[in-house]
């Protein structure tokens, strides 16, 4: 029941008024992420430039508040950052959820820290990490639009 602490203003704001929901121009990477256990599906688009900087990003698709808000917060964090930094943030996020990340590190996740206790609701972990997993797969360099 600890989960209810996750629901709240921050989550709602990102769920109801996501900043990054929509399309961007000339994405260099596009990938679908799917949460088989609930049917939620999102598509992430990223534009990464020659210096490996994520210039812009967005998502489309439907899902629960947790998956929608989580991906929106993630995009907040990684847009403008370098590929390595985004992958580092992924590690921190996963570490936080597994309860393995230090407090200092976790602070780097900013608003995404609301998902700290999601592990109390194992069925929802997949929702919270859907966007993050998809992003990591994209930046692992194995996938691109071309």
């Amino acid at each position: 029941m600890a989960l209810n602490s996750i629901y709240g203003e921050i989550l709602n704001e990102h769920n109801l008024r996501p900043v990054h929901k929509g399309r961007i121009e000339n994405p260099s990477l596009v990938l679908d992420g799917k949460n088989p256990s609930c049917g939620d599906e999102i598509t992430i688009e990223l534009r990464v430039n020659d210096e490996d900087v994520i210039e812009d990003g967005c998502f489309t698709g439907s899902g629960c508040a947790i998956s929608q808000a989580s991906v929106d917060m993630m995009l907040d964090l990684i847009i403008g950052e370098k590929r390595e930094r985004a992958l580092k943030l992924y590690e921190i996020f996963m570490g936080m959820i597994r309860g393995e990340a230090g407090e200092e590190e976790t602070e780097e996740l900013d608003e995404a820290m609301v998902f700290k206790d999601i592990s109390h609701m194992p069925a929802r972990v997949k929702c919270a990490v859907l966007g993050w997993r998809t992003m990591r797969e994209m930046l692992d360099g194995r996938l691109s639009v071309e």
């Binding site: 029941m1 629901y7 704001e13 508040a65 947790i66």
Partner: protein, 402 residues
């Protein structure tokens, strides 16, 4: 009914914490069922069927009494009752043994888009491997299957009709008897998925016209790990065995083997005797309460629930407007709130409802929803449960900032 007299028989409710409304997924178990399994292991535990000593004889008797209790519940002969693990295995048994043997290229299997995956994927497997074709009846949004659908899709080529008795999403009861009559006229066999009906409705295989009928013990308050397949004797007799191994043979040599008589031919390996004995206790409990009482409790509570839910303009109930057509199952959506969030937020108040596609994805698509929240009631639910759920709905919207 202000106080539900049965609730106290269920230990999970004793701490007063849970408002459990997910009985379509699995029922809660009364003390008597839990005690029966314990009693089995403490005082009659042995491998049944082949033992020549007292303990094993008691185990055998317990197991066969359970078979008689099941056959009595659904109007079958004991030798027509095969114990499986769950309804899913029962349906797969028919698919593998009957389907792969008696269906051929060009034959048609008729089912509906509202089936649970367990009554859909086995038939697709049969189709893939035999060259038969699966056709789907499309019901109206309230679950009604129109005659025109049936007349169009039930043809001379239809060799097997697989139909759910009660939908686990809409709660509607399908006109199995009418469909069975039509199917038998064209020479098809009828497989009934009774997972959601046997726990709630008096079910008689002959009155229904079922050639096969499957259900799970755990949804009628029995243990996990025990399910039932009824099969018409003459069909079971001509079918090859499914799982092979101990207990289902008459004799084995290096050159060949012969099969045991019914129902053992279909029960390979060590049987779940304790589970069957627990299921017998569940059937006894169910009979003590009586289907009439179950009906009354479910309809009353479903009515209460639907009355309140329909007053919220942002709540949408799937299926019929008539509570008595829901068999205790109320699937709903709330505008702006994903069903998973509904379920998670309700859990914060100890209210347990399911959310998702309920193993019926094609029905979700047909209804035009991605998923729903589902409250499903049983004989132990009470007005407090329904009130708690009804009153929590506006709060869900509030929590979500709506």
């Amino acid at each position: 009914m202000s106080q539900n007299p049965y609730r106290q028989d269920f230990p999970v409710f004793r701490n007063g914490k849970y408002r459990y409304m997910d009985s379509a997924a699995t029922a809660q178990r009364p003390d008597s069922v839990i005690a029966a399994e314990k009693e089995f292991y403490e005082s009659m535990n042995a491998n049944p069927l082949r033992g020549l000593y007292e303990l094993s004889v008691m185990a055998t008797q317990a197991y066969e009494e359970a078979r008689r209790a099941v056959s009595g519940l659904i109007g079958a002969e004991p030798s027509e009752i095969i114990f499986t693990r769950n309804a899913t295995e029962s349906l797969n048994l028919v698919a593998y043994s009957y389907g792969l043997t008696f269906l051929h290229e060009g034959d048609e299997i008729l089912t509906t888009v509202m089936e649970h995956h367990s009554n859909m994927l086995p038939w697709r497997m049969v189709a893939e491997r035999t060259g038969a074709v699966v056709k789907y009846l499309k019901p109206l949004k309230d679950g009604t299957i129109e005659d025109s659908e049936l007349e169009e899709k039930l043809t001379g080529k239809t060799k097997l009709v697989a139909i759910g008795h009660v939908s686990n999403v809409l709660g509607c009861e399908n006109p199995v008897r009418r469909i069975a009559d039509m199917a038998h006229d064209t020479g098809a066999v009828v497989v009934v998925d009774a997972a959601q009906s046997v726990p709630h409705l008096k079910t008689d295989v002959k009155e229904l016209g079922a050639d096969f009928l499957a259900f799970s013990g755990h949804k009628l308050m029995g243990p996990f790990g025990i399910g039932v397949l009824y099969g018409r004797r003459d069909l079971l007799e001509k079918m090859p065995p499914f799982l092979r191994g101990g207990e289902m043979i008459e004799s084995v040599t290096l050159e060949g083997q012969t099969w045991a008589e019914l129902p053992h031919k279909f029960e390979a390996g060590t049987v779940n005797a304790a589970g069957a004995y627990g299921l017998k206790a569940a059937i006894e409990y169910l009979n003590r309460v009586g289907y009439d009482n179950i009906r009354r409790i479910e309809d009353e509570l479903t009515g209460m629930l639907m009355d309140v839910l329909t007053e919220y303009p942002y709540v949408h109930i799937q299926g019929s407007e008539d509570p008595s057509k829901h068999n205790g199952i109320v699937s709903f959506t709330i505008d702006g709130v994903h069903p998973h969030d509904i379920s998670s937020i309700l859990d914060g108040s100890g209210i347990n409802v399911r959310a998702g596609h309920h193993c019926a994805e094609p029905l979700m698509k047909h209804l035009g929803v991605q998923s729903t929240a589902r409250a499903s009631l049983y004989l132990y639910n009470d007005e407090e449960d329904v009130r708690a759920l009804s009153e929590a709905i506006p709060g869900i919207r509030r929590v979500m900032g709506l």
